[in-house]
Amino acid sequence: MTSIKDMTAIAGIGLTEYSKGTERTEWSLASEAIKLAADDAGIKVKDIDGLVKDIDDGWDCSYVQKTLGIDNLLYSSESHWGTSSMLNVVTAVASGTANNVVYYRSRKGATTTRRSPSDYRVAKETLDDSISILRIDFYEPYGLATPQGCAAMLQQRYMHEYGITPEQMAGVIIGISEYGAKNPLALYTDKPVTMDEYLNSEMTVAPLRDIDCAPGVDAGIAILVTRTEMAKDLQQTPAVIMSAAQGAAIEGEFLTGYNQEKMTDFPETMNMAEELYRVAGITAKDINVAQLDDRFAPLVPMQAEALGLCGKGEGAAFCGAKSLPINTAGGSIGEGFMDSNRIVEAVRQVRGTSTSQIDNAEIILYAAGAGGPADGLIIRK
């Protein structure tokens, strides 16, 4: 039975400078990031024959080709709610459709929050999709109008179900910020967060503290994937992709899966983890480092439990005790909210170039989509 296990590897990573506000366009950031990823891998930009991006940011591949001089593309796709970019990239390369496929993001999360106009969007009457209409029909009339509010709704239920105290919840961000303090790129964390700072942090929407929310950042990030045997004779140590997977669940929405049987279980992440470990042929115990979705810190414990890294209700204590290194570059809380900066950190751990290098870092787990459609990756030396 064919499988994607070990067939592909991350051969190059490209990261533009992080900025809290740049004049440069998303087009410029995407172009530079992709060029840096090709240089890092040691291949010619012209040899890139696949481009994958998120629908919410950056410029689609026809723009990015104009600056990269790529003659033709054999693969392109855009991820949207419920789809996984990395799984797209892996199936493109593993199936022999394309040789070198780059997943790129370019986002000006710090400067503007407007959706990228790269896709054709007509205004209000043609709303994005049925999930946006659910939000407008059932949540916004009652003032639940922000993702922070939705995350707080999950956090409140979780802390109630397992009797978690704010002091225990503080352990999540305190642990992550200790790694952030050692990473010069983490613009938002120059020193670790203290318990006082955490407890005195304002709550725009209780019980979620503002310090628990990842800030936006302007940056371009590109991940270049090729076949493992090709990656072996390129410039960098290949980060072999043991498995990639995605998870969905009935009644799942985007941070608002209220009609799931137990929303704090994160069933999408549980479904994804089951397939991720099955394909990789390992269990949660074999993970040495984890890069989890910390757009909202209180969702990290729930994600750790859903990934089987610890038991139900033990997530906050697990993160606080740092029994497993989590977000070793300071995560989104430190570097700003862009999922793929945690893929870059996972690759650094494989190459041994992290600012908080974990010495026995053999198998690294990356996961995204806490509280919604999930996306995961396991990579190794």
């Binding site: 029909d137 009339p141 009652y142 003032g143 209780a206 209220y258």
Partner: protein, 142 residues
């Protein structure tokens, strides 16, 4: 009335979409102060939010039944700073688990933010916002 509104327009259900119209009957019922929930005619499964097909048996025949309106608070948040110009902070948003199963987002009418607790029994109440919009809300039960 624990949620204070400003004079700005309050966000209201879309209902006219060509993408998703299934929640139309629910909102018609709310206008007549009845809380209707969708039920699959073939297998009896309660479906919320309303949708065109039953995920259990794939029947496309649904009916609407009136819910008792009773439930318990399942979770809640309190906005100390208002994210939307129509709402005055502080206000609370509650997630109520109805006795029939579905969980719905709403506001309380007679419970202040600091008094709200998970598990508190509540009962449906209706609040007419303007002539096109009536919202289902919840008051303390019993």
């Amino acid at each position: 009335m624990t949620v204070q509104y400003t004079d700005k327009p309050i966000p209201r259900p879309a209902l006219w979409g060509i993408i998703y119209r299934s929640s139309g009957s629910l909102w018609e019922g709310v206008k007549e102060e009845k809380f209707l929930i969708q039920k699959c005619k073939d297998c009896g499964k309660i479906l919320h939010p309303p949708r065109p097909m039953c995920p259990a048996c794939h029947s496309t025949e649904q009916e609407y039944v009136e819910a008792s309106g009773k439930g318990k608070i399942y979770s809640y948040v309190t906005y100390n700073k208002s994210p939307h110009k129509a709402f005055k902070a502080p206000y609370s948003v509650i997630l109520v688990e109805l006795d029939e199963g579905p969980r719905v987002i709403s506001n309380t009418v007679d419970v202040k933010p600091e008094e709200i607790e998970i598990g508190m029994p509540v009962e449906i109440a209706y609040e007419k916002i303007d002539d096109e919009l009536t919202l289902y809300k919840f008051k303390k039960a019993g």
